[in-house]
């Protein structure tokens, strides 16, 4: 009569509960492992770098002598490059996302474009460096300038910004677009007054996270010919420059132990910059979080 044998259910109960416990343990283990690695990394960097960290370290230029070396040129170089990258990648990325989501007909061509954008996000950054070298440095004759570096970085993070913005735009419910169209609003009015403001927090979060990826990139700028030793700050977008990761790379590849220590100090500065950028992203996400 009974399809379920109560006895065997009872017998299997122990095994099921045990498997439940094991699964939980494995997932905790996985989390702990990455936390441990991160902890070791931070401990090492702090213990090596903190003693060398001072205001002088931030405001000095690079030097042959470790005790006088600083990251001023690299810090300002990074800021200059970001000042080019941020607006260029934001405008082009959000523009592309709006076109693809709101205007483009869903056909084979847009599907092809879409797939390629997603693929571009996975292309190694050095490839973008080679592209920048060919187009911006050589073809357009910009040289190893802040402008060439910033534009190359824009190319690198554009796919990420496009995809993040598209996702943000897609979360704006169809109902409120319909409400706008239903009142005689044009497509542009609907995008400008309804869709864009509602999607903006998501777009900004994606953009800032993409920018913080660009802050940490070395390879494309090395290929472009960004300098490793710079004893001046960029004066305009056509100046030569270096950035923090390149300076760090340069220091860690030197034989003297002291340079490794000041590299750790530089990493602390870089981490602080990244932390600040990510916090801004989280703040924007929380402050403007919309529930639909």
């Amino acid at each position: 009569m009974a399809l379920i044998n109560k006895e065997s259910v009872k017998k299997r109960m122990g095994t099921r509960l045990a498997a439940n416990g094991v699964a939980k343990f494995l997932f905790i283990l996985a989390t702990l492992f990455s936390l441990l690695v991160l902890g070791v990394l931070i401990y090492r960097i702090l213990s090596e770098g903190l003693p060398y960290l001072s205001l002088d370290f931030i405001t000095n230029f690079a030097s042959r002598m470790p005790e006088r070396a600083g990251i001023w040129a690299a810090l300002l170089g990074t800021i200059w490059v970001m000042a080019v990258t941020a607006p260029v990648s934001f405008i082009l990325g959000v523009g592309t996302a709006i076109y693809l989501e709101e205007y483009a007909k869903k056909n084979a061509f847009t599907k092809f474009v879409q797939i390629n954008i997603s693929n571009l996000a996975g292309v190694p950054s050095i490839v973008f460096g080679l592209l920048g070298l060919t187009i911006f440095v050589r073809l357009l004759g910009l040289g190893s300038s802040v402008l060439a570096g910033g534009l190359t970085m824009s190319l690198l993070i554009l796919p990420v910004i496009v995809v993040a913005s598209q996702e943000a735009i897609r979360t704006v419910p169809r109902e409120i677009r319909e409400a706008s169209f239903g009142m005689g609003a044009t497509k542009w009015q609907t995008i400008r007054r309804i869709v864009f403001p509602a999607a903006l927090p998501g777009i900004l979060t994606g953009t800032i996270l993409a920018l913080s990826r660009a802050v940490g990139e070395t390879a494309p700028l090395l290929v472009l010919g960004a300098l490793a030793y710079v004893a001046f700050v960029p004066e305009n977008i056509f100046s030569q420059f270096t950035v923090l990761p390149i300076q760090l790379y340069n220091w860690t590849s030197r034989p003297q132990e002291e340079f490794h220590m000041i590299a750790a100090s530089g990493i602390i500065i870089l981490l602080i910059i990244l932390l600040i950028m990510n916090s801004i992203a989280v703040l924007i996400r929380n402050k403007f979080h919309k529930r639909f």
Binding site: K106, P173, E175, I176, E178, A179, S180, F181, G182, M183, G184, A185, T186, Q189, R193, I194, P197, A198, K290, R291, F292
Partner: protein, 269 residues
């Protein structure tokens, strides 16, 4: 046999009508891809009355109301034939822009859909997109519209709070206010109370009675009692066709078609 009777009835109804039409629908056909959703729809919608569209799920009533302001065209695979004449103008005429049409023919949707903005900005949205910038005019429009939608007293002290803080019923009345703010000629309502509780539903129904003094209203409802309570004329849709269209009292007390009778007595649907 049935069909001939229907034709006679329709002709009889045509003779009965003594109203100014705001919409004249002529042989309207609509397809979603291969699916023939509306078949040879032909009837007139009166001015300053409430016209209810009833029928079972999937009969095309929502599709129909969305053709009246051409919202249905947001579905990419839609094809249409026939004509809808709004105040002597064919709304499918390429020279007659959808934006112009929708300024005259406002819509209230099934689910309350306020913008993620303040109550004030929700109502001011319509006037703003039509180019009104004067703060004083906007203030007046907002108050008049909110009063018109019978929600002014509930929200007058928190006009600048987010509209999402309102209850579902208040949100729907806010959406009606938002619609009034563009001073439309016709208001289309697509099951406006289906997401609301009974008390909010009652308020919206009372509001519809108020509004018909100044506006022509077309309301889709799956609730027959609601249609009987608030409408002057009722069209019964079935499988994309208009089975019967006449005075609401006649349709409910003395339906001329067997299918209408079966539906309103609850035998299907």
């Amino acid at each position: 046999m049935d069909i001939t009777i229907n034709k006679q009835m329709v002709q009889k109804n045509e003779k009965e009508k003594d109203f100014t039409p705001v919409f004249k629908i002529n042989n309207l056909n609509l397809w979603y891809g291969q699916d023939h959703a509306l078949k040879d729809i032909k009837f007139d919608i009166p001015e300053k009355q409430v016209t209810a569209i009833i029928g079972p799920s999937g009969c095309g009533k929502s599709t129909f109301i969305k053709t009246l302001n051409r919202m249905v065209e947001m579905v990419p695979i839609v094809r249409m034939s026939g004509e809808i004449v709004y105040r002597e103008k064919n709304i499918f005429d390429p020279k007659y822009g959808v934006e112009e049409l929708r300024t005259q023919v406002g819509m209230v949707f099934q689910k309350p859909n306020p913008f993620p903005k303040s109550i004030y900005e929700n109502v001011a949205y319509g006037p703003r997109i039509h180019g009104i910038k004067n703060k004083k005019v906007l203030d007046e429009v907002v108050e008049k519209s909110l009063r018109g939608a019978a929600i002014w007293d509930e929200v007058k002290d928190r006009l600048h709070e987010n509209a999402y803080g309102l209850s579902g019923g208040q949100q729907q009345r806010l959406c009606i206010a938002r619609c009034l703010a563009i001073e439309p000629d016709v208001i289309l309502m697509d099951e406006p109370t289906s997401a609301l509780d009974p008390i909010s539903t009652l308020k919206v129904e009372e509001l519809v009675q108020e509004l018909k003094k100044d506006y022509s209203i077309v309301i889709v409802t799956h609730n027959m009692q609601q249609a009987a309570r608030i409408s002057d004329r009722t069209a019964f849709f079935l499988n994309g066709e208009v089975v019967e269209y006449t005075d609401t009292s006649t349709l409910f007390s003395n339906p001329s078609d067997k299918r209408t009778e079966d539906y309103i007595t609850g035998r299907f649907g």
